[in-house]
């Protein structure tokens, strides 16, 4: 039997580096070892990719989806069914950091292409990722670089590249923005066939040398005839760049930080952790995988359990994975996508280029009701395969007194730590039914229902809102 602490630590890793895992998977991973599991997660290419033939056979409309929530549903399907959880989690991370929204782009397939780019490059070099981002047609359109011309610059991309994507406020001047924008002139999108009535056609990146400003530029202390890639080379060598990226990684994977706009006036909660990540960045030549290896193997990560509020996508996907009713094509993925929307996270359509406010700001009165209702409905449904599996695990422990029943439920879907207040409520509910018994058919039916109610209550608790 694996040690309970090992299971709890592995559950923590899988909640953060993925979207949670069943007890059976946790036990298998503990047997494999923590560091070996981290390595597996860091090398998604060694695990099978989502079978897109299956996906598009059963959901032909997901390919080149005409509009939300279909494109969102496609991503939710991948998040639930991936064998490469960190790859998908990193796609979500980059989407949150490089927020690009359908409200303006109005091109769901192109946004989906951008997410696919994050899958491909999301664990590699930060420098290469920024180059790919600069060439992403969805990003070009989102931040108007198609309107950035040699004789009339548009500063939108140049500004956000520094302010929101690579450096953070206070690390560049207005002149740097102008010079960076000059360097990205000519980076645009080729004309494409318009949408409808024959479905969607993809954009292609196009570099137009005749529209590129070939003059000398002065950028962050460097002078030269810079093009876009030169600007990115300079950016990733700025001391501010790894600090900014490390804080984002910490905020997403370790513990909630203040909202990003406050970062220039509020220091990180754990400066030593940021320094470790910065060192990993510098030593590895901007390698994201190396930073994450340090992060997941660090004590600051291992000790940060339940220190983050789950984003809606994490809550929706994690609960659906646990309930186990979406592990193959079936109708209803669009409703899971809508659930994310209703809880405040419209995938592929963040509210602005500043992205979502995270942490406690995920939750307001309306969002909390949606989160509770969604999770409680799924976790309380004793007909779902994942819940049946939880029941079987508890049943294998035989008749249980109420306190052990509560412990067994918390263990089976986590292990989940809960506050004294929550534990008291759960215990009171469990005591109402007395000992959990499996002796007769009637006992069994009643016990299954009682477990369903307890799981429902647990998933409605404050504690369940944290990852």
């Amino acid at each position: 039997m694996p040690h309970q602490e090992d299971i709890a630590l592995m559950a923590h890793l899988m909640r953060r580096a993925g979207f949670g895992a069943h007890r059976e998977e946790l036990e298998a991973r503990v047997a494999k070892g923590y560091e070996a599991t981290v390595e597996e997660l860091l090398h998604p290419e060694e695990q099978p990719a989502i079978d897109e033939d299956i996906l598009y056979r059963f959901f032909p409309g997901y390919e080149g989806a005409l509009g939300p929530p279909i494109n969102q549903a496609e991503w939710v399907y991948r998040m639930i069914n991936t064998s490469r959880p960190l790859e998908e989690k990193m796609a979500l991370f980059w989407h949150q950091l490089f927020a690009t929204g359908n409200s303006k782009v109005d091109n769901p397939p192109e946004l989906t292409q951008q997410i696919a780019m994050f899958r491909e490059h999301g664990l590699g070099s930060f420098r290469d990722l920024l180059v790919e981002l600069a060439k992403s047609p969805a990003m070009i359109y989102w931040l108007d670089n198609n309107g950035n011309h040699a004789d009339a610059i548009n500063e939108n991309w140049g500004r956000e590249l520094m302010e929101l994507f690579a450096l953070g406020v206070g690390n560049y001047s207005e002149d740097d923005i102008k010079e960076a924008s000059r360097a990205f002139t000519g980076w645009t999108i080729a004309p494409k066939i318009p949408r409808n009535p024959l479905g969607r056609f993809y954009w292609n990146f196009e570099y137009k040398p005749e529209d590129h400003d070939d003059g000398e530029k002065h950028f962050l202390g460097h002078t030269g005839n810079f093009n876009g890639e030169d600007i990115i080379d300079i950016l990733v060598d700025q001391p501010a760049s790894p600090k900014f990226l490390s804080r984002h990684l910490y905020n997403f994977f370790v513990a909630d930080e203040p909202q990003v706009p406050a970062w220039d006036i509020t220091p990180p909660g754990d400066p030593a952790a940021i320094e470790m990540l910065v060192n990993a960045y510098v030593e590895s030549n901007y390698d994201i995988r190396s930073m994450l290896r340090v992060l997941f193997n660090s004590d600051f990560f291992k000790n940060a359990r339940f220190a983050r509020v789950k984003s809606p996508a994490e809550l929706v996907v994690g609960t659906a994975r646990m309930a186990g009713n979406y592990n193959a094509p079936r109708p209803g993925f669009n409703m899971l996508a809508m659930e994310c929307n209703w809880q405040g996270q419209e995938l592929l359509n963040p509210p602005s280029v500043e992205s979502w406010h995270t942490g406690p700001e995920w939750i307001d009165g309306g969002a909390l009701v949606r989160r509770v209702n969604y999770a409680a409905n799924l976790m309380g449904n004793i007909d779902l395969p994942g819940i049946k599996s939880v029941i079987a695990r508890i049943k294998a422990q035989g008749n249980l007194p109420p306190a052990d029943l509560v412990a067994a439920c918390l263990d089976a879907i986590g292990p989940l730590d809960v506050s004294e207040a929550t534990h008291g409520e759960l215990l009171a509910q469990a005591q109402d039914g007395g000992e959990l018994r499996w002796d007769t058919e009637e006992d069994q039916t009643k016990s299954e229902q009682r477990i369903g109610i307890l799981l429902s209550l647990i998933s409605a608790s404050r504690d369940y809102q944290f990852a």
């Binding site: 033939d53 598009y56 056979r57 032909p60 409309g61 409808n196 009535p197 024959l198 056609f201 109708p331």
Partner: protein
């Protein structure tokens, strides 16, 4: 190329029918089609999630006659409509690979009956995909997740079955489309095995179509199959976005890639009504629009017109197999 000449055959592009439409005139992720009498073509649309599921009636000359079916699990409704065929009386049979059943409509779309039961026993279905009638008016059903073909009477009485999961001759892996030739031989698009297999009416393996060992004529995820009056076999090579043509013996003949340079009248009407779209089209390379994207089903009519349905482009492209073609002078 609008005209393709290969191995003594000539395939001449003719025209296309259709466009995207959530409802009414148009198709939405169409999956299969069948020819009815009086120039009517029935096209079954999968739609997306809860919308767009229906069977459309359209003529060869673009007249939209109406539609029937909708989302749901009640009589005459679909969750995942997949395939359809017509019996000799002109009634329409449609498979649903989520509801594991066959729904039957009259030629005008009036609901008649439904049969099918989920499971893996004789006569039970798990993900029924392609369907096709033989000359006796019995229905072959590709029972996809059970890796087999089953034969039923029109009323759904089980008659026989063949096939099992595997990669050997006669074995199947998530098969999709099916057709029956004039001798009642049965062709099955063996989707996950990247090949088409031909069987006798009672399921004895005859020949397979999958290209040669140099990759010529390969298939990736074949979906639909049809046979013309001369025994040539047409396969929608869904994963490679093309139509592969084979001789009766399985030898590869040629590839068609789609040639819809002229939009269908429905599409043209849409374009003409949108000045911005006209403007945008004049700046774009239009070739991607001509080409097949997810060709999903193919049928050949009595005149050897080859009709290919594209799921992603929501249209039918039509080729004629020219029998009286005279080669042009090369030095023109």
């Amino acid at each position: 190329m609008l005209t393709t000449v290969a191995a003594g055959r000539v395939f001449d592009y003719s025209y296309c029918i259709g466009m995207y439409g959530m409802s009414g005139q148009g198709f939405w992720s169409p999956q299969d089609f069948a020819f009815g009498s009086d120039g009517v073509i029935y096209v079954i649309s999968r739609g997306v999630e809860e919308i767009g599921q229906r069977i459309t009636r359209v003529t060869w000359d673009h007249e939209f006659l109406g539609q029937f079916g909708a989302n749901g699990s009640g009589d005459g409704q679909f969750i995942w409509p997949r395939s359809l065929d017509l019996d000799q009386a002109g009634n329409v049979y449609a498979s649903d690979d989520y509801l594991h059943r066959i729904s039957v409509f009259d030629s005008e779309g009036g609901f008649l009956s439904a049969w099918g039961e989920a499971g893996s026993g004789d006569g039970q279905l798990n993900g029924p995909s392609g369907i096709a009638f033989d000359s006796n008016d019995n229905l072959f059903v590709v029972d996809s997740h059970n890796s087999r073909v089953q034969e039923f009477t029109k009323e759904g009485k089980f008659l026989g079955k063949w096939g099992s999961q595997g990669t050997g001759d006669g074995e199947l892996n998530m098969p999709w489309g099916i057709c029956v030739d004039r001798e009642d031989n049965v062709y099955v698009a063996d989707w996950k095995n990247n090949r088409v297999q031909k069987f006798t009416p009672d399921g004895k393996f005859l020949v397979k179509f999958c290209g040669n060992d140099k990759g010529v004529g390969d298939l990736h995820g074949p979906t639909g199959v049809a046979v013309d009056s001369e025994g040539d076999v047409y396969v929608t090579d869904w994963g490679n976005h093309r139509l592969q043509v084979y001789g009766p013996d399985g030898k590869f003949v040629t590839t068609l890639v789609g040639d819809a340079q002229q939009p269908s009248p429905w599409t043209q009407t849409y374009i003409d009504a949108n000045p911005d779209i006209i403007k945008a089209r004049r700046r774009a390379d239009l070739e991607p629009e001509w080409r097949f994207h997810r060709p999903v089903a193919v049928n050949v009519d009595s005149q050897d017109r080859i009709v290919i349905l594209e799921s992603y482009r929501h249209r039918l492209q039509i080729y004629n197999k020219e029998k009286e073609y005279e080669e042009h002078s090369l030095n023109l």
